[in-house]
Symmetry: C2
Subunit: 343 residues, 2 copies
């Protein structure tokens, strides 16, 4: 299904796009600096991986979302350079949510280095996240050089995207305190927390290429289904990914009693896992056995099938969007990376 | 300077506007609700004073900012009903910042009732603030019914307003840990934390009335100067306002060792206050004496003079904006309320 050609196409695009993405992001983040706010800019530069201990490519993350914007623009017949402001906007929005997530989840590490709040404290880090939220909206103004129509159509999309992100985050946080979470609630949460932003990425690319509403909607659906598949795959890795692969301890999602998709499948099945789970105390010594029970109950297989089905739906949506050749191949490849990665 | 007529004008406008403001705010906040996010909407409704213990007019706050938008629109020759979406946007933005402020300052009470985070915890409250931020941007879409130009010009203003809010907040939080804060730094902080939003209120009103750029800039300057005066006045109340008036304990800003304007004046003077302050431990028993020393050193007078001068600058800017009669009088009156209130 994946051709060497597609791999090369994606690599070529990535090589050209990544430095341009960093450049536009840096220019935007510079706006947070000022005579009295030098350190605020420094905080944002640290979080984005450009500065401070452990800075560099790995600390910057994979910039999946801006790449998705740019590739979608090319695949819809536009020029990726024109939509760099949209690419910056989604990455800033994503990082706003990561900064707040890390505080909310009490996470001390991200991308192999201390999270922002562990270095600057919670009050300043909440505020730094808010700055990125503001900058995400500001970034889109750069589209006006390209086309005022594109700007107007793009700025439309952001507020409800942000709202849905916060709705998804509300549900995710609420799940921790809930006894029972249904599969339906799970998908609603993921729809907000993960899928809406990937959907917006693909749509912003299409809007930037001035694609028709119908074609833009196909791109959006591609991004959305890809986001759902991505999260389901992430949930599998959270249980069965090795420490080497994920950078987190083995079975980390079980140890944190996260109500992820395989767990919900296991509970619905009512087998051995469902029997152990309610009274299970998170312990390294018994987590292997629990993971095995979950796998034997078929939850890993079910989740894997789900990733496959959602990926197929994403590809169908992409076909309907009639992507242009080279960028279309690269976009598919980016999708495969997201749902087949083992890191 | 203040005529009975102006007082009546303001009261008449207020009576008509306040219910309309609540209505548009409620409709916007409803968007946060959904099958899985009923409680998120409830949190926002609690914070905005419509629901839960102690809800009602007092818990809703005075809605100064939306009133400023609507009065500015009328004063610029427009119709206030047309800019209700902008009024909602600034109030939502203001309340987003209050929710995060209360977490950052560890404040347990606001408007006489428990703050959001004390009831729902910090993680969910950070997220609820984020929701309001998103809704503020979404709200402006309502302007399109009135005029797409007004919408386009209004949406331009919000991102940098939000950014400056976070820059002001950065400085405010940073002041706590700083040995010395200059008067210049103080004004820069207040320019972001308080003045930028009032400036934006007045400008959004003028934009809504499709005033010229020059006239809109005069309105903006009016709001900005008013914001600076408002904060200086607030700082005076924070030290010399009585508990009855402010709802906080007497001398609360001294007891929290806040580097507010009178304190900075007192330190610059190098008198008795400057001698006591560095080693003073916040105590009810000695705070009266400290406040007296500060007043004797002339700091209260200096701050009061500053409020007067800034108010004059605000009125000069408003004159240049050539406000229409009735709404212009009401706008001036609203300004006086802000800088002469003793609550």
């Amino acid at each position: 299904m994946v051709s060497t050609n597609a791999i090369n196409e994606l690599e070529n695009f990535r090589e050209a796009m990544l430095p341009a993405i960093e450049e536009v992001l840096q220019a935007e983040v510079d706006k947070a600096g000022g005579s009295g706010t030098v350190e605020l800019r420094e905080m944002l530069r640290y979080h984005l991986g450009w500065e401070g201990e452990g800075s560099g490519r790995k600390a910057q993350g994979k910039r999946i979302r801006p790449l998705l914007v740019l590739l979608a623009a090319e695949a819809a017949g536009g020029k990726w350079e024109d939509v760099l402001p949209s690419a910056a906007a989604v990455e800033l929005l994503h990082n706003f949510s990561l900064i707040h997530d890390d505080i909310q989840d009490n996470s001390s590490m991200r991308r192999g280095r201390p999270t922002l709040w562990t270095k600057w404290g919670i009050p300043q880090s909440i505020n730094a996240g808010d700055s990125l939220f503001a900058l995400a909206h500001d970034s889109l103004k750069g589209l006006k050089k390209h086309s005022t129509d594109v700007y107007a159509n793009s700025i439309e999309v952001l507020p409800l995207t942000s709202l849905k992100l916060t709705q998804g985050q509300y549900m995710d946080l609420a799940f921790e305190g809930k006894e029972e979470v249904s599969i339906q609630e799970y998908w609603e949460m993921v729809g907000g927390k993960t899928a809406v932003l990937l959907a917006t990425c693909a749509e912003l690319g299409a809007i930037g290429a001035q694609a028709s509403k119908e074609r833009s909607a196909h791109f959006r659906l591609f991004g959305e289904k890809l986001g759902l598949a991505f999260q389901a795959h992430d949930d599998i890795l959270g249980i069965w990914g090795s420490e080497n692969q994920t950078g987190k301890s083995n079975h980390s999602d079980l140890l944190s009693r996260k109500k992820s998709l395989p767990v919900l499948f296991g509970l619905a099945k009512g087998g051995k896992f469902a029997e152990i789970w309610p009274n299970w105390k998170p312990e390294e010594s018994s987590v292997n056995e629990l993971a095995r029970a979950l796998e034997n109950d078929g939850a890993r297989g079910q989740a894997t099938d789900m990733v496959g089905a959602l990926t197929q739906e994403a590809l169908t949506a992409l076909d309907l969007a009639k992507p242009e050749t080279a960028a279309g191949e690269a976009l598919k490849m980016l999708g495969f990376e997201l749902v087949q990665r083992n890191y």
